[in-house]
Symmetry: none
Subunit: 144 residues, 4 copies
């Protein structure tokens, strides 16, 4: 029998909160999606003013990062014509997203979920995703 570690709803909310704070700081309203280690959505928030297209893209970034256990910007770097990975961006009906902004959430060496941001530039999306993970880690190490 396998034992799986998975983000709880509370932890998903911490990820969103950290990402949201960064989004407010850089003044870019974002779509923020959190999925579990199986790629299934736990929580989602569209900040007022975030893009409609980003609703799906944020989810797909989170899905990709968790289910493939790889940051979407890493796929992006490899997904160039001539590289054997090229073409992965159309997989799973296009759900496999290679646009920067999706990060796996790793705790104790295991991927326990994923976070995906969309509405800014990929760099902004990545910055907010990292802020979400930092916020979670801060609370996990100070569990009061």
């Amino acid at each position: 029998m396998l034992t799986i570690n998975r983000l709880s709803q509370t932890e998903a909310h911490l990820l969103i909160e950290g990402a949201r704070r960064k989004a407010i700081e850089i003044e870019v309203p974002m779509c923020i999606a959190i999925v579990d280690e199986s790629g299934n959505m736990i929580s989602f928030d569209r900040m007022d003013g975030a893009k409609i297209t980003s609703i799906t893209i944020a989810q797909d970034k989170a899905f990709t990062a968790a289910a493939a256990r790889k940051a979407t910007h890493e796929y992006n770097a490899a997904c160039v014509p001539g590289n054997l990975v090229f073409g992965i961006h159309t997989a799973i009906g296009g759900r496999l997203c290679v646009v920067g902004g999706g990060l796996p959430v790793v705790v104790d060496g295991a991927v326990v979920g994923g976070i995906g941001l969309s509405s800014g530039s990929p760099q902004q999306d990545m910055e907010c995703a990292e802020a979400g993970i930092a916020y979670l880690e801060q609370h996990l190490s100070n569990p009061r």
Copy 2:
């Protein structure tokens, strides 16, 4: 130019909070989705223990209720073989959901969004959806 009223993220969170409290009360972890008046998702939460299938179903209930401006259980009542509405349940790739648990959110006579619940029985889903709307209305009338 048309002028449209739409749920804000804060109001979406109130809807979720009201539904979540009822879900805790009846001890059924739920998937809870909130969409705007155009059917686009604003916020989503999967409570720990809610069903994986309900992730999509909750969203589709909320989408249907807002975008068709009709409760999903009302479609359910009409969607019987021999009735001219029958077949509507497979429309839009199956996104049009006629299972009870999706309600339009009406403020000042206009549909401003939708709420969809899934993981319990349809009656439980409906009860939680109603609780979400009641909780929002209580806060809208006491805007402190």
Copy 3:
């Protein structure tokens, strides 16, 4: 070589105009879709206030009526459990629509297109679809 008769854009607009006039008369804003004899869309209009879900459903009704050369309410009557036609409503990813409101457009004995209405009751949708066809026929017989 086959020679196909197909609605022109002008004729599509006449169909929409006739349907729209009836929709205004019965005070139900409608989504109105016109497709050609191959089921491909020619023209579409969402009247202010029509339903978002009806955008797709109106198109699917028109598609079904033209491409299957059968009114959607006729499919509805046959699509009951136990009848060998039952299940047709899930065909083509659900695009085959058996909800009343889609009519083939027949000129000189041949189906040259389809009209689909959605946002009212199926009976209202059918009434407006018929009004569209009547309006076209009136102009075809008085080609000034």
Copy 4:
């Protein structure tokens, strides 16, 4: 509650009329799609002779421009292998279109809808989309 401005059907028709006039002038029959600020279709026209594939592409261009609040040719410029945006063209089942010819419709600083053209070269599609917007703006500033 958020208050949103959205194209009316009358304004959608002005956008189409402006685009159509340009299409006639350059002698390229076009598919023309207008969506609202949420990406939902308001009006569509396929001019006699326009391409069948363009029925979907015109809609997807309009959807992208409105829902992402960005011209499709701007996405095109960024969507090159090695850029972190690369891969966005397969998002949302391929509905996110990076082919030139989709423009957001901006009124008083807010995106109120989108226009998408397809059947010519991307340059021709863009030229007609711009003509549609110019035609609308001319009528909005002379509201008689």
